[in-house]
Symmetry: D3
Subunit: 129 residues, 6 copies
């Protein structure tokens, strides 16, 4: 298991990121992903900055963004990310029924992705921009 950098042991530039995450999320402590990433402070800072920009409300609803995050995490087999972003999606309003349909879509896409690759299907002209 990787080393986790706790707040008490963190250098100032790491504490600054932890403080920003805690303030943005209204939580008393950051989760393990950030404590692990703190082994490389520049990557910690850059990742938080990018993530908070990307996941902010915009043209897509925040819960839709979290569901997209979950879908990608499943396809990449990232157990930690599935657990943390499924929890985040629920916290932002994803219902059980929506989670069930998300699973169904991800499963179906996985199946047809591999069938299309297996059959080496040529892209139809109408799908080319």
């Amino acid at each position: 298991m990787t080393r986790l950098v706790e707040y008490a042991d963190a250098p100032p530039e790491v504490r600054a990121v932890y403080d920003a995450i805690k303030a943005a999320r209204g939580v008393p402590d950051v989760n393990n992903f950030w404590k692990a990433l703190a082994v490389h402070p520049p990557t910690l800072a850059r990742t938080w900055e990018s993530l908070s920009a990307v996941m902010a409300p915009g043209a897509l609803d925040p819960v839709v963004k979290e569901m997209l995050y979950v879908a990608v995490s499943i396809a990449h087999g990232c157990d930690y990310c599935i657990a943390s972003h499924t929890a985040a999606a629920r916290a932002k309003g994803m219902t059980e029924a929506q989670h069930g349909e998300l699973l169904a879509v991800v499963g179906m896409a996985s199946e047809t992705n591999r069938l299309a690759q297996a059959l080496r299907v040529k892209v139809d002209p109408q799908f080319e921009g």
Copy 2:
């Protein structure tokens, strides 16, 4: 490139599926994925039946389902599926701004998926059901 089964050359059980797809989508012909899958009629029939059930309106909006489909297809590197489901998402109302944010989320998730796996991060107790 795989063999494509055209309507004129298709056996009755394949024509029945093509007819169902054309009726459901209001299109004059099915796209290449279905023509390729028709080399195995039972898989063609089962896949269409499943896909139409999964992608029907439900707890999730159809355009959200298409965006989830696109996200998974990107993570699996399926070029055909990216092309066809991005077109489908646009047809169901995805705007350019929404597509841009979808790309940003998929990219960000891909980065943090690999970082979490690289660091072997232990799942926080609050994310375990």
Copy 3:
């Protein structure tokens, strides 16, 4: 596109591998994979040696080995490998009906693989050795 090393231009250690492949397969020329791999002669030699050992008849029938090769190639999205090993499987006796069932199994496995990962299912005790 990568550089292909043709027999006429190949150094002796590459020609030796090409000769071995041609003799083993009874073909007048090696296919593009080998001509591309010849940019690094030690990897060419080692890969051919390993491949011919692994794919030789043994406890599994050669056509089953080729079908397993196709299944893995689909899951990795390797277009070249799907094309070449599907052809090899057919040459070793895979029928159209068998190919259709192979596609169905690969698609189904892809779907349930992602569902099991999405749900973070704990392995049942009876499946642990």
Copy 4:
């Protein structure tokens, strides 16, 4: 870990699927995959229906189908699926020697899949349908 739906707590449409699985397999209880999937009854029912159709005896021997399932599960890194389908393949007759050769083929395919992609090898004309 995801919630598992036990028979005693399951709604009728879930019990119906569990009963079908138990009858088809001659087992006293379903395994964890199904209990987890039961959080979304329509996906549970559809998945069982598809799986039992796909894995039924046909042009391919059931043990070959299970070995293909294992191969795909390895390439997708699905630990649960590797465990459960390796057990299923053994139950259907896969010997230790066959399992060893399956591993060798999957490893070899993984290596050459990535080499072919790395070298961007163009598909030979004879492999195009």
Copy 5:
């Protein structure tokens, strides 16, 4: 194929990024990846900012960073990225012999990755931090 945003048609915030890339690399035009990404200007700007920070000289030599980039791109099956970063690695000094060894390592890692997953190997205590 996706739409490419050429400099002449680009809005000011896109031109600013193109100018930064051209200045940093000493090239007369940006490559297609950036022209495609320009459909979403915030992602274009953020990606360039992150990429130039990450790939700058540091504890690792720039050519080593490019080789790592190539290795990841192969494992993700990204044809565009393999082509562009292999070219970048060569431009930064990667020799043919080094490229050959990179291929060999990537192939070997791919094989043993899948074998370790297939065998569900428990991590040795000395590898746990």
Copy 6:
């Protein structure tokens, strides 16, 4: 968990490989990967032979080879391989700062790999050989 073949229980051809690994690495015992792979002695022998050839000093420094191995293992989501090869890279001289930059490059490549695939970017002529 898979069965591990301990030295005391190993047949002569397995002991011979274990002895070779122990001698090459100067360790008192082989790690779990090899003990698991020993269920198929021909694959054990071939894998060790290939691995020791590929990872030997050559045009690339051994620590660079280990870092490439780690990068591929992350992209394939192989937890065992990440743990063992990160340890190996450290033993061969990878510093904490280098590990941090490796993580940053792998994360960045993962993000742009998926963006390039999502956008279906055409390879620029100058990147084609």
